[in-house]
Symmetry: C3
Subunit: 362 residues, 3 copies
């Protein structure tokens, strides 16, 4: 399992796609009426985001990211405009029903999706314990479960413990499927909200200097982020991690092939002084098994604290996928450059945007 | 327990009722304002379905089934008409609140009820772990729980591990109660959707030839189906099951008393060649206890596969209450006669119909 | 733990507040736009209920209670008026989203809050297993969880196993927090519904004679009720409990300081003959640990049964926070003076009132 985790499936889709067209998810036929969306009212500018399922970060090219982020901004404006009065909420997804089918608990992600659906007037069917639900416990296949649940809903948000489960579900379902994390595999909406947050906080993505800190070997978050950010120009990435959890070669090779500069460093303060974004991650105890000593050594090594803030440029930000333990000290929270709770909130806007695009189009 | 399961409570209500009038559930007084519903606009055709609770398959006579199925067809038309746009959904149950009180998990059934309620604009209160909820764990009676929950909602959908629990709940509550399965007892909405599926797929119920396959001793599904189908004319039933899980005598005697022809067979292919419906069921491992050898022998004996399809008439269908393990092979799924996922979807329409009839009438 | 429980935090806020003004929760700054509400249409009567969070019973003075109860009566009228047709429901909280963040299960309380929100047209995000949710299990602080969840919702209802958790959550969140019970600490909405029930059933609060029966040492319910009722005039309280679970001195001293008469009695029948309200409670087995013998002796000592009804004044009522075991016999239920299920229903109205006051004001 650990070995398998070391080679996440990212490099399977290395071929860079031609820019302005969203690649439909490669192995899946376009099953639904495609959602075409004009990028403007002018004739001939018919950009077209055809979004069928959201399965992995690799399915999005730069044009698709741009369009999703535009819709996310609209969602954010909608939310802020209506926050003083509940009655001002959008009802654009009224009558639509989303099933959150979670085979392992992830309350943060589940609540984010369910809030997104409800903020747009939609309804939700929830199951948090799909793994124990009688059908799965009795040996029903994921495919059979999907066929049943798609009869009850308009879109399925799937969280699963097995890599590849979302792809299997999407291949089965006639309604859209969103991958909310499938084991060591993918968590594409997290990757999208991370990139969106950088753009929102810094104002641009091209030319970004990004420090990835912490567990770079096991975190699917930083791996997906590295993959997506490589779609932009003049990116520089610094890897800062304990030796036992260094970034794997597959990502490094991919970055090089995309013309992304990267280097490894053991000096967090020096990196922080040069970056636009410090992306801190949690050292995951569960990856160390019996070797608690290695875990303890690794977890205390790179902490984001006041000293990091002291050298961090004024315009830069600290990000973190959360939950955080002590890898960012509490006293950092009050600094305006602490962006991690804004980042979590951006997850709401990104998920609202995806639900809208998948269900009613732009 | 096993012995108790062997004699399910079906024969308690053997007296055939006079046709066109729905028997109100026998031991329960009509507590609510009865829902009268004209079967047409013409004077004098005032058929009246008075539906107070849905407790067991036996409470429905043929006229009641006909009316429920008519409403289910309307629900199906509604669903299909609006599926392209969420905004076209019915809001007929807007402002109504359904409590799903599940003392044992059954996500499939729960999601089906909750989808049904939401598809009609209603709202849902969910508890999936009622058994562990602090009140029940502290020793509160079911009756006390029902009295509390009925204060919060307009209708209760109860799943319980004890036979008779739904009847007790209905006797307590002043709002409608729907039995979503009470232990080895009843699961009347499953029985309704099974009969509805036969009518939808074959076009009629009178004259049907039905093969019941698999675990006929323990499955409440096939027992309830046999009971309900006996209300129609010229029915022929074939029982195909391993010896250890043969249909019990009580149902056989009941069928005979109703003039239903039945026979036992060990030749699935021959039965399949003569039937309109093959109703396959799962051999339930949990019924065999330590005798894994008996289970293994029983489960592999009658499999619905391509060979069955080869002899099955063109107009006939394969049904299954799901979940399915390997008693229907995957390659059967793509045959148009594989009706089991349509059957699952019919559960949505039947439950929509029941909720509408119970809450606002026809 | 047991010792800690013996000194509940009530005496921390002993200072009686000046009457007609609601004390904002002491240690929390007024963070939100205050909700002002005129107590009448006449100029100059601008009473102002500024309700930011609901954390503990002590935060409410008599004027605040009066206003909350007035809104609860409006909610009750609304409910009764619309009960025949779902469509008549209020939609005053349409577009608002409540997160129920429960770190320990309490289905009764959760369903009551969720029903309250939905009865007013609002929406709900639910998590019943917040303690096991991956973030908390991974060591995330309550504060971090609150910061994330407040990004998804408009109000948080928190149930927690630690005393003081609600206060911490309220100090963190920029949206309102309602304490739905924090361990041995507070359960203020239960206290409010208890006092509201007395007023609804008896018609007044001043001059009430109240018998508190059962486990008076551990029950936060009776302790909070004693605290709140002391805000009214000419109150008399009788304590009737087994010796091992007698009312603690802190409450007795507080009552005395407020001019409330109280006495202890071992004669339930004599007390019942003099009271307006008998408030029975469950002897909680879990408080006795190994001493099952003490528990068994205590639980059977004071039972509310037909003999109690025989001496109870005609206008008086029996209350109980539920769940009940055998401390009130079943045959009492049919007596019109059995108010405990009406009391449970009042929880719905009180919670509707609080949600309305916190989200949109009066």
């Amino acid at each position: 399992m650990a070995a398998a985790r070391a080679t996440l499936p990212l490099p399977r889709v290395p071929a860079p796609s031609p820019r302005p067209q969203l690649r439909p998810f490669p192995s899946l036929p376009a099953r639904r009426g495609a959602v075409a969306c004009g990028a403007g009212s002018a004739a001939g500018v018919a950009a077209s985001l055809r979004l069928g399922d959201v399965i992995e970060a690799q399915q999005f090219d730069r044009a698709a990211l741009t369009e999703i982020f535009e819709v996310a901004r609209e969602m954010e404006a909608l939310e802020r405009g209506s926050s003083s009065r509940g009655a001002g909420r959008s009802r654009v997804l009224e009558g639509y029903l989303m099933a959150t089918l979670f085979y392992e608990p992830s309350t943060r992600t589940r609540l984010s999706f369910e809030a997104a659906m409800r903020r747009l007037g939609g309804e939700v069917l929830t199951t948090e314990n799909a793994r124990e639900f009688s059908s799965a416990a009795k040996g029903e296949t994921l495919e059979d479960t999907i066929r049943t649940v798609e009869g009850y809903s308009d879109i399925i948000v799937l969280r699963h413990f097995e890599s590849g489960a979302a792809r299997r579900a999407a291949a089965t379902a006639d309604i859209p499927v969103i991958n909310a994390g499938d084991g060591p595999g993918q968590h594409p909406t997290q990757a999208l909200l991370d990139v969106y947050t950088i753009e929102r906080e810094i104002g641009t993505l091209d030319g970004i200097k990004l420090g990835l800190v912490g567990d770079l070997a096991n975190g699917r978050t930083v791996r997906s982020l590295a993959y997506l950010i490589a779609k932009y120009q003049n990116i520089k990435i610094y890897f800062v991690s304990p030796d036992v959890v260094k970034m794997k070669d597959d990502i490094k090779e991919y970055l090089t092939s995309q013309g992304v500069e990267w280097e490894e460093s053991s000096d967090l303060l020096e990196v922080a002084s040069k970056c636009d974004v410090i992306y801190q991650t949690r050292i995951q105890k569960e990856r160390f098994g019996e070797r608690i000593d290695l875990y303890e050594a690794a977890r205390g090594k790179y902490i984001v604290d006041k000293k990091v803030l002291d050298v961090l440029p004024k315009h830069a930000v600290i990000m973190h996928p959360l939950p955080r333990l002590d890898e960012i000290t509490i006293d950092v929270d009050s600094d305006p450059r602490a962006a991690y709770f804004r980042q979590a909130k951006n997850g709401l806007y990104i998920r609202m945007a995806l639900l809208k695009l998948l269900l009613v189009g732009r």
